[in-house]
């Protein structure tokens, strides 16, 4: 690493880049568990939506560089972060709970009670 390379005094708020949020996904008997990496993002800047059978996670990360400070090596920067997951049938907003800790957003999705439908068999 050479801190003197890539020296820049450019403001970094010109265009909002879009990034995909990395995620771990696991399935258990109780449902599904998601862990998403959102370092540097405050709870107030995260939006969770359950809409038309999908779970949408959107967040904004803001890099405030104080005046008189030069960025020698650019890090996360300002960006819009997004990820979307298709939900299994029967899963509504009430089945989804979320918590944020140490830059990790953990989402638990409860498995809906299994719908059992008896299919009648016709006698030919």
């Amino acid at each position: 690493m050479n801190p003197t390379a890539n020296q820049t005094d450019q403001p970094r708020t010109a265009a909002l880049t879009l990034e995909r949020i990395p995620a771990d996904l696991a399935e258990t008997d109780a449902g599904w568990s998601l862990v998403l990496a959102l370092p540097g993002v405050a709870e107030a800047d995260i939006e969770l939506r359950v809409e038309r059978g999908s779970l949408q996670i959107a967040a904004t990360r803001t890099a405030d560089v104080p005046e008189g400070v030069r960025v020698l090596r650019e890090g996360p920067g300002t960006a819009r972060l997004e990820r979307e997951f298709l939900l299994p049938a029967g899963v509504g907003p009430e089945a989804v709970s979320a918590s944020l800790e140490a830059g990790l957003l953990r989402i638990e999705i409860a498995r809906p009670p299994e719908a059992r439908v008896r299919v009648p068999i016709k006698n030919g």
Partner: protein, 141 residues
């Protein structure tokens, strides 16, 4: 790494939706380290989500900052009470952290400060007094 075919799973990952926008900036697992410089200090911002704070160890060794920590990325598959958990996607960085940051200037070692908030480790390294820019008064006669 072997991965299940997620497109067949009900909770599948809809990445194609964002593909056009993502071509401009490919997704990274962990965003890179940022280095900022001011006249009196250099600041390192390391995005390291999921660190266990009691394992976090920052030290100054021979002009190098060293950061060591354990990462705790929770997954139900790791929990003994969930023996039937199935991992469907694993994209997060895990395992121990060991970073070495060469300073390239004389720090005021006693005044180095490190804070961990929102999954980002921030280390402020003040420059030693003799390294800071100094205005030299000019005497005119």
């Amino acid at each position: 790494m072997l991965r299940p075919d997620l497109s067949r799973h009900p909770l599948h990952l809809l990445d194609d939706l964002f593909a056009p926008a993502l071509r401009a900036r490919p997704a990274r697992r962990t965003p890179p380290l940022e280095i900022r410089a001011a006249d009196d200090r250099v600041t390192f911002l390391a995005p390291l989500p999921g660190l266990a704070p009691d394992t976090l160890d920052v030290s100054l060794e021979r002009g190098e900052l060293r950061v060591r920590a354990e990462r705790q990325v929770p997954t139900p598959a790791d929990a003994p009470e969930q023996p039937r958990a199935r991992v469907l996607a694993r994209e997060l960085d895990r395992g121990p952290v060991d970073l070495r940051l060469r300073l390239g200037f004389r720090p005021d070692a006693a005044a180095i400060e490190a804070t961990y908030a929102l999954g980002v480790l921030r280390i402020d390294v003040p420059r030693a007094a003799e390294e800071r820019p100094r205005r030299i008064p000019v005497t005119t006669r």
